[in-house]
């Protein structure tokens, strides 16, 4: 398994403009979702007088911190539809954006360790097949064929009883994805404005007409929020609440090693997921810290727990050295499904609630959000993901159902 190094990138892939006084559309948040929203507003809807406002530097939030797992093997029809749409876009984007961001379809194994896991997993495989998503159930010996370093011995605390496998799933280089989208946005005329924090919304009765920022007031025809962990903070500024809670989510990498891990392995039961990045570091993540937090850091016992789980599954990692841990802030919704929706404020739309798993959806979230902002109507993909579902009860409960971690 030898992969060429990612391409060297030039010093500047986009301009660094000052904000204009007015835009047709403003996207708040310059992570993957904000960039994808701007890209599809310009490309699919011909709206190019757009600014993406980012309080820090471009893609320095969760976009720079995630473990890059891309898959579409979710349980419910609504989720399958949007994540599979995203996966198909991922398959075309490197060519479309003319940027090799190392999308590597090396497959993902979601391990089952209990009888209930086995039942849920086979059910999910069947649901996936009905929705045209590639999925198979593998017995332990077949798991070992796909990933020889997983310990499938029955003599461990939580033996591997099998796994679901999605061959088209994989990983990509997150920074390069952001740069590819940023360059494409810039070429389409989008202003990517960094160090520009949105601090308030100006309303004419119930309609948003401008945003207040650390670089002055900017008028806007339509405003879309793509602020991930800070979604609630922005909603509060605009005068409404979102059903999300912000939690720290941590991940870590080891030192660089020879390629030993050919796929992506996730285990909800022992709570770890592992892949090996192109350069050779083992990339691992687990679940959120339990408490609400905006500190971009979590507690060490969460890392300890996740390392214990990793060692049980991969005894070969026993001597691996941890290089670096970090945290992001994820906005978790009650049903572990996103919110792409109109809000109580006219002309203000929100994309959030992606929690621990929104990287994989980046292009589809941008596609659906752009449609919603441009037309004022939801796209078929995000219609079920509106805020109304919390009142109607039509939740799309992917907690557990879709092996939801990432």
């Amino acid at each position: 398994m030898s992969t060429p190094l990612p391409p060297e990138h030039p010093d500047w892939l986009w301009r660094d403009p000052d904000p204009k006084s007015s835009y047709d559309a403003i996207v708040v948040g310059g992570g993957g979702h904000g960039l994808a929203t701007a890209y599809y507003l310009a490309k699919n809807h011909g709206i190019t007088n757009i600014a993406v406002l980012e309080k820090g530097w471009l893609a320095g939030g969760n976009m720079a911190r995630n473990t890059t797992i891309i898959r579409s093997n979710y349980l419910w029809d609504e989720s399958s539809a949007i994540y599979e749409f995203a996966l198909k876009l991922w398959e075309d984007l490197p060519a479309e954006l003319d940027y090799d961001f190392h999308f590597s379809q090396r497959g993902v194994l979601n391990l089952a360790h209990t009888l209930q896991d086995v039942r849920d997993s086979t059910r999910r495989v069947n649901a996936n097949k009905l929705n045209g998503v590639d999925a198979e159930w593998l017995e332990p010996n077949e798991v070992a064929k796909v990933c020889p370093i997983v310990n499938v011995s029955p003599d461990v605390r939580y033996p591997v009883l099998g796994a679901t496998f999605q061959p088209r799933a994989g990983i990509a280089k997150h920074d390069h994805v952001a740069w590819a989208l940023a360059r494409a946005c810039d070429q389409l005329g989008v202003d990517l404005i960094q160090n520009c924090e949105v601090t308030g919304f100006v309303k004419d009765r119930d309609r948003v007409v401008a945003v207040e920022t650390t670089r002055g007031r900017i008028n806007a025809g339509v405003v879309g929020l793509a602020a991930a962990g800070h979604s609630s903070v922005l909603a509060e500024m605009a005068g409404f609440r979102l059903p999300v809670q912000s939690h720290p989510l941590q991940a870590l990498v080891s030192e660089l090693y020879e390629p030993v891990h050919p796929t992506v392995v996730m285990s909800n039961h022992v709570h770890v997921y592992v892949s090996q990045a192109h350069k050779g570091e083992l990339v691992m993540g687990a679940g959120v810290d339990s408490y609400n937090g905006y500190g971009q850091r979590g507690s060490f016992h969460v890392i300890e727990h996740q390392m214990a789980a990793a060692l049980e599954l991969f005894p070969i990692f026993g001597r691996a050295h941890l290089l670096r841990t970090w945290g992001g802030i994820v906005d978790v919704s009650p049903d572990a499904s996103p919110i792409i929706s109109a809000t109580p404020v006219e002309n203000l739309y929100v994309n959030g609630g992606w929690g621990t798993g929104g990287f994989k959806a980046t292009p589809a979230a941008g596609w659906a959000m752009a449609h919603t902002m441009a037309t004022g109507e939801p796209h078929e993909l995000n219609r079920p993901f509106a805020l109304e579902r919390f009142a109607t009860g039509a939740l799309i409960n992917e907690h557990g159902a879709a092996a939801v971690a990432h």
């Binding site: 903070v233 609440r241 809670q245 339990s290 408490y291 937090g293 500190g295 009860g393």
Partner: protein, 96 residues
């Protein structure tokens, strides 16, 4: 790792506790009278400030009792620990 002071047992590591989310969310006085929107608020909508936040913790590996903490969710500083419904009087402006 947070260090939280149980009102009954004293300072203990976070791993001894279970998190309970926002404090002082009342059960509706007249549940039958609530609209679907009001039920949605009650069930699914919680404050989520970046700053002081009144939240519940349970000392599950100790005395198993619940108590309240005002913690800054941006700095993780613990500002106040108290029991029962008593308001955190020293923290005006904290959303409850």
């Amino acid at each position: 790792m947070l260090l939280l002071t149980c009102p009954w047992c004293g300072p203990r590591d976070e791993t001894e506790y279970h998190y309970g989310g926002q404090a002082h969310v009342p059960y509706p006085e007249d549940p039958d009278a609530l609209s679907d929107e009001e039920w949605a608020e009650n069930l699914f909508f919680r404050d989520n400030p970046a700053g002081p936040f009144a939240e519940r913790w349970s000392h599950t590996a100790g005395c198993r009792r619940w108590f309240n903490v005002v913690r800054d969710t941006a700095t993780y500083d613990v500002l106040e620990v108290y029991t029962g419904a008593a308001p955190a009087a020293t923290q005006p402006g904290v959303a409850r």
